[in-house]
Symmetry: C2
Amino acid sequence: MQLISVCEYLLVRLAELGISDIIGVPGDFNLGIVEKIEHDDRFRFISECNELNASYAADGYARTHGISTLITTYGPGELSAVNGIAGAYAERVPVLKITGGIALSKIAKKLPLHHTLLNGKYDQSLKIYEQITCAQGLITFDNPGEQIDRLINACIRHKQPVYMQIPQDLALHMIPAPTAKIKLNVNEPLTDSEAKIVDLIHQKLLNAKNPIIIVGDLIDRYNLGQEIETFLAIRGIPFVLSWAVKGLIREELANYGGVYAGEFSVHQVREFVESSDCIISLGMFNCEINLGEFSANLPQDKLIDIQLDSAAYNNESFTITNFTSVITAITELQINRRFNEITHNPNYQTSANLPANTILHDHIIDEAGKFLAENDTLILETGTISFTAGYYKVPAKVKVISSVNWYSIGYALAATSGVALAKKTGRTLLITGDGSLQMSVQAISTMLRYDLKPVILILNNEGYTIERAFLGENSSYNDVQIWNYTSLADSFGGNAYTRIVTNATELEQVLNQAKQQTDKMWLIEVKMGKYEYPSALLKLAELVVKQRESQGK
Amino acid sequence: MQLISVCEYLLVRLAELGISDIIGVPGDFNLGIVEKIEHDDRFRFISECNELNASYAADGYARTHGISTLITTYGPGELSAVNGIAGAYAERVPVLKITGGIALSKIAKKLPLHHTLLNGKYDQSLKIYEQITCAQGLITFDNPGEQIDRLINACIRHKQPVYMQIPQDLALHMIPAPTAKIKLNVNEPLTDSEAKIVDLIHQKLLNAKNPIIIVGDLIDRYNLGQEIETFLAIRGIPFVLSWAVKGLIREELANYGGVYAGEFSVHQVREFVESSDCIISLGMFNCEINLGEFSANLPQDKLIDIQLDSAAYNNESFTITNFTSVITAITELQINRRFNEITHNPNYQTSANLPANTILHDHIIDEAGKFLAENDTLILETGTISFTAGYYKVPAKVKVISSVNWYSIGYALAATSGVALAKKTGRTLLITGDGSLQMSVQAISTMLRYDLKPVILILNNEGYTIERAFLGENSSYNDVQIWNYTSLADSFGGNAYTRIVTNATELEQVLNQAKQQTDKMWLIEVKMGKYEYPSALLKLAELVVKQRESQGK
Ligand SMILES: Cc1ncc(C[n+]2csc(CCOP(=O)(O)OP(=O)(O)O)c2C)c(N)n1
Ligand SMILES: Cc1ncc(C[n+]2csc(CCOP(=O)(O)OP(=O)(O)O)c2C)c(N)n1
């Protein structure tokens, strides 16, 4: 029996998962593990400037590669990452959150060590992470390999973060090497309940008048986009995408109907979806934004809603045990019939007469759309810009990443570092607000350090414009300090192409240039109006007012 | 009966507590509250760039003013502040952590709103904060004023953070105005158990051969420094300070014996303390650093250890109900006797022959000591520099702030913004490592925005030097990106005096100049050796090696 250290056991698993960059911040409780990584050719340890950024980066890496690892130290380190992991939990992004913990022997002695709360307790982090991960564990001497595998399996299965604390005295403890590879998600025979829902879908697709499919968030997370795309291409079933998975299915398909998110959808797309007699929603998060601030009109008797653990149709509910198997079974259905052709324009149309002397969100939508090429990734931060997420025209194999519900600002910039690390081909284009950028700005330093070269558009609209749409239009708390954004690369000891643009022509030019010059990061400051709201945001504001009125306030 | 809104009720209380700057980050769930603050002349809302920094700033404000308020939004906002609040909890710093929460009416409908985890739960933040605050509450319609007062009272009493979530639909809900002021900590008659321990101390102070007092952390937190100082000045009892409360008691007092922290103490101070036949420790955190990596030798039969909730002497334990009353009672003891005079030099001596062509920690200790004047605050970040905390020579009324146990890097820079906001007179001098600064660098922007003018020494030793002392001396994870630190002010749209210094003479000169020129922030990059460890850190490293050996590893 081959013996290896607990740490090495973990690394064997990470290598199996194809993880080559391990993101984190060192600290004395994890130095043992990090030092192993340093001397292991299979991996690179990526030091982010702080743990919150590291957690966002791990999220970006996982959305791109499929899974990621985040290593921090106990106490301050791991607790700085709580928000990022919570976001990954909410949006189903599988991150292995690993903490280098206090030696079990020291916990047993109840030593008042640094990084502890001085209240005699050592399990606060486990309890905190219980709220925001799908599985947790403090690794102990009792079969550590099995404990590690259990957590990794949960992460893979639920596509949510898990929390693993490896005490200092376990890191180098010797255990049997794994004898088999970790199990990935595999198709299993359908359960009766699953078979029923698949059968129902089959009947509906054969017999409904104008059925459509909504391709939702979980299709992305469970890496089923390719399967679904092939299925849709062959069968010709009309489909739409949910708001945040733009790009997941090739938009050139003749049966592409646009992006659906209730009132945020292009008018004709909304009509198209809501007039269908059978809407099959595959793994869409039923959340505020996807539902167009709850304006979506998808009546129960027309909607077959496939979620991760259950499906629903017309007051009936079906347990789902294996989402992947159900989706695969759907893609294997024999459906030979003609469907209605798409007669509407599925795309968002930017205004016909955009003024040339300024930059509006419609300009950005147009220019970013022109910039993007196959295999590129577009990352959109929360803020005014996230309300354009469904509106870009993107070539095949372009992934659009945005937070659809957790909505933590600062996320996108740091996530970009993870995305850029994980990407094998293609450019990374980030569009972020100034306020958001300020939250996690040191991620620019990290990207310079590791020679990552995203193109970054910083929308300088002098503050928290999205908030101005709701309250405090001119209040000082919605202002931010005005930075010299283009000088940041230099301050951070790096080198980037920089430009400040103030009108659409300049924006077009600089993006053209960025398309050619790929050898450095691009930092582009885009000056925009303080009150420039994209159309979907205005719709949101209206809907919110209506809600308030209907509540009699 | 006068009616006011819940929000106004809270503000009445904050005004009573003398809080004028409310620190936080706006977000849609707290906009109602923040907008009220914007239009209330009693307060200023201080927008930090992110919530982690805001939490550190609130800690700094509370350490300076006595209590502080931190307002964030629900979900991502509050969860970004977890680490900072955990630190305040560990080190007993009273921060009112207020979250603008989801309307109760919306929670009742279980709406899948943005900023929620999409798991049907809305109480994860409460549960998370349960681990790191001394009291928590989701404010409801059932007597909100009482609920608010309960939380504020807990914060004042325990000197630890409390968590208060104010749902959107409560912020403007009308309730009776408070009819009396909030109760502050007051002296209460001693309980029997308290009287016993005070009496024991009395006997010991009268009869022990060479008793000494250790003035500890809680004396600072419960704002009892002045009382203790007067007591010590009048009675002449020999005393030492614990590691992190340097400056709390005037060092010019003839009975000042130095700083005690086991092996970290100056040799003669350690001898002085450990040869006493009765050591009365008043509120010292018994933690790793204060105990000199557990080298402190304070035998039970000689030590009377007063903690917040209990006291201990020689296997006997005494319940303490009101720490303040106990300390006050001690200061009122009649003790008319002569005590041994201090015959040792209580101060740390920097090396006699410091090389002039470089900058060592001893230089910094000397020069910072010369810079500091009455009412100044010295803030020391965790890292190599925190291992000098006990070694500065400081004038009266200089407060030294450092984290003694939580040890979160990035803390000090952001805390400095809170300290500088709260300070009425005197300068603020921060000494931070480069790695730490990078964690929370945007706090510089915040300080520029609010016209705060600390003097900041950034120790550029090319990375995480403290970690190199333990593992990975040359490992890349202990490197950081080398920034142009002095250009940061400009990048952040502000104006500061900047300088790069590489030897002791330059350091002296620039601090002299900074002493004169007080109209702007100073950003001073101090170039130091990559392996320049202060003496206490070397002692720590030795002690850690010994511990490992004694455990047979
Ligand atoms: C961590 C976190 N803090 C606060 C918020 C509340 N919030 C949502 S959007 C926003 C402002 C974003 O401003 P900016 O990035 O400048 O984009 P803009 O709307 O101006 O385009 C804020 C503060 C949040 N979502 N997440
Ligand atoms: C939030 C957090 N993350 C990680 C650590 C682990 N840690 C302790 S000290 C330190 C390095 C500090 O480096 P620097 O500020 O450059 O100071 P130096 O020791 O080089 O003087 C690190 C990473 C920590 N204490 N807190």
